[in-house]
């Protein structure tokens, strides 16, 4: 009868799966992205090279290929026995971190150089300068692109479904295997994603407004 009501527990699990993998890989992407952006503007050449290599590699590899590597190569040679959820979150988080890094880096570049020089001249270390003086002033410019990046991440999480991570797209596959009409299935999946992406853009708009009030 109704594809959603009849299969609600599976749908709910799929939805929670999408939300979880989105949340976990967002955290990974944000954390790594900011760190790597720090590397890229660091005075230490090896860190800069590593940052550049990371971004080049992660940003230019098709996400599906990255997933394949994480699911079939990484467990073979590095960490056997990781759950598909962890592997998927890592692949998606690493991939997205390169985009976060570049957004943060361009935000850093909008902060006048004199700010960092003043910080260094009172004896702050590079990390302190970045953390206390530069990044807080970059945040405002970084928030709008970050919003798009995390929405893209949400949609990219669908690829994880193909690698047996329980998420919304996996539910779609299950339903079509069960022989349900494809159109309502897709509509429900789309609504599921919309809920997540709308929440993300809402959160970011809230953040943006709060920053505006703050100064």
């Amino acid at each position: 009868m109704n594809v959603l009501l009849d299969n609600f527990p599976e749908f709910r699990d799929g939805f929670i799966g999408t939300v979880s993998i989105t949340a976990v890989s967002s955290v990974i992407a944000l954390f790594l992205g900011v760190i790597i952006a720090g590397f890229r503007v660091s005075p230490v050449p090896p860190l800069r090279y590593f940052g550049t290599a990371w971004v080049t590699l992660m940003r230019n590899t098709p996400l599906t290929l990255l997933f394949l590597i994480f699911f079939f190569v990484v467990p073979e040679i590095l960490f056997p026995g990781m759950s598909p959820f962890v592997l998927g979150s890592l692949a998606l988080g690493f991939y997205t971190s390169s985009f976060v890094c570049e957004a943060v880096r361009s935000g850093i570049n909008t902060v006048p150089l004199g700010q960092a020089e003043a910080a260094r001249s009172i004896g702050m270390t590079f990390a302190q300068t970045l953390q206390i003086v530069v990044l807080p002033q970059a945040t405002r410019t970084v928030i709008p692109p970050l919003s798009s990046i995390f929405i893209a991440l949400t949609k990219n999480s669908a690829i994880a479904g193909a690698f047996s991570v329980a998420e919304l797209f996996g539910w779609q596959k299950l339903m079509s295997d069960k022989g349900y009409d494809i159109v309502p299935v897709f509509i429900w999946v789309a609504i599921g994603y919309l809920v997540v992406t709308f929440t993300i853009s809402g959160l970011f708009r809230l953040l943006e407004r709060r920053m505006e009030v703050a100064r």
């Binding site: 230490v44 006048p112 004199g114 003043a118 001249s121 009172i122 004896g123 003086v133």
Partner: protein
């Protein structure tokens, strides 16, 4: 006009204990441009040195090499007997001892005036918040902007911002203060309020290196004028000697230009 007392001791002599900043044979290039050429300069504790010279002569660069905001290609710089270390924690520690005041103030835009003056004390000197605040307020009062403590830099006039910047540098208890054209970005009516603060500092015995074209300040506060042109130190003299009787043609030429307008 006898005894140019400012000429350095014999080259290679052991550095006097009283020498605070010593640059020896410093060279720096920006690409093909040789901005600093064989610079030798020694600043004694408590001395106030004014650096003067035409635009592009390398004054700012000289200033910035002293706290290693610019690296040098060759030569040595030492502060209080310690050579400038490589980039890293040790350099950061040394920079805290060298106050710097910029032409464009560079106050932390996202912090209040009070926070600007507290930040270095708390994060670099690891002072406790209360002591830092007390000291910050004292310093802000001293430079005459105590009532602005809770405003953001953008809400202050240029002269006020520059005085806050001086307070921010002083909060670190620096051994020496560098000023790079501290009044050049200011409207004329604000220049004096900043110069007065600097004059008071000089009277209090602070060691200062000041890039400025303010001759009034040089005459009243400086022990020595260093004239730079094309990346070289062309002349060193007392302010009186320099302004009334410059030796080099470059200096004569330069002074005639800044005096006649």
């Amino acid at each position: 006009m006898s005894g140019v007392s400012v000429t350095k001791d014999a080259e290679g002599a052991a550095p006097a204990a009283n020498d605070l900043v010593v640059l020896s044979n410093v060279n720096k290039h920006f690409g093909a441009l040789h901005v600093l050429q064989d610079i030798d300069l020694t600043i004694a504790r408590g001395e106030v040195v004014v650096v003067i010279g035409p635009s592009g002569s390398g004054k700012s660069t000289l200033c910035r090499t002293i706290n290693r905001l610019e690296t040098v290609d060759s030569g040595a710089i030492s502060i209080d007997g310690k050579p400038l270390p490589q980039e890293g924690k040790e350099l950061a520690r040394l920079r805290a001892d060298v106050g710097m005041v910029f032409q464009s103030f560079n106050l932390f835009a996202h912090k209040t005036v009070l926070e600007n003056v507290m930040l270095g004390q708390v994060k670099v000197r690891k002072a406790d918040k209360k002591a830092a605040e007390e000291k910050a307020r004292t310093l802000l009062d001293r430079v005459g902007v105590g009532v602005q403590a809770d405003k953001y830099p953008a809400q202050l006039s240029g002269g006020q911002q520059q005085r806050v910047a001086i307070a921010r540098a002083l909060a670190m208890d620096p051994k020496v203060m560098l000023f790079d054209e501290p009044t050049s970005a200011l409207d004329p009516e604000m220049i004096n309020e900043v110069l007065e603060v600097m004059q008071q500092l000089a009277r209090d015995g602070m060691t200062m290196i000041v890039v400025t074209h303010e001759m009034g300040f040089a005459r009243s506060a400086a022990n020595r004028v260093v004239f730079m042109a094309d990346g070289k130190i062309v002349e060193e003299a007392t302010p009186d000697q320099f302004f009334s009787n410059p030796r080099s043609d470059r200096a004569k030429d330069f002074l005639s230009k800044i005096l006649h307008h």
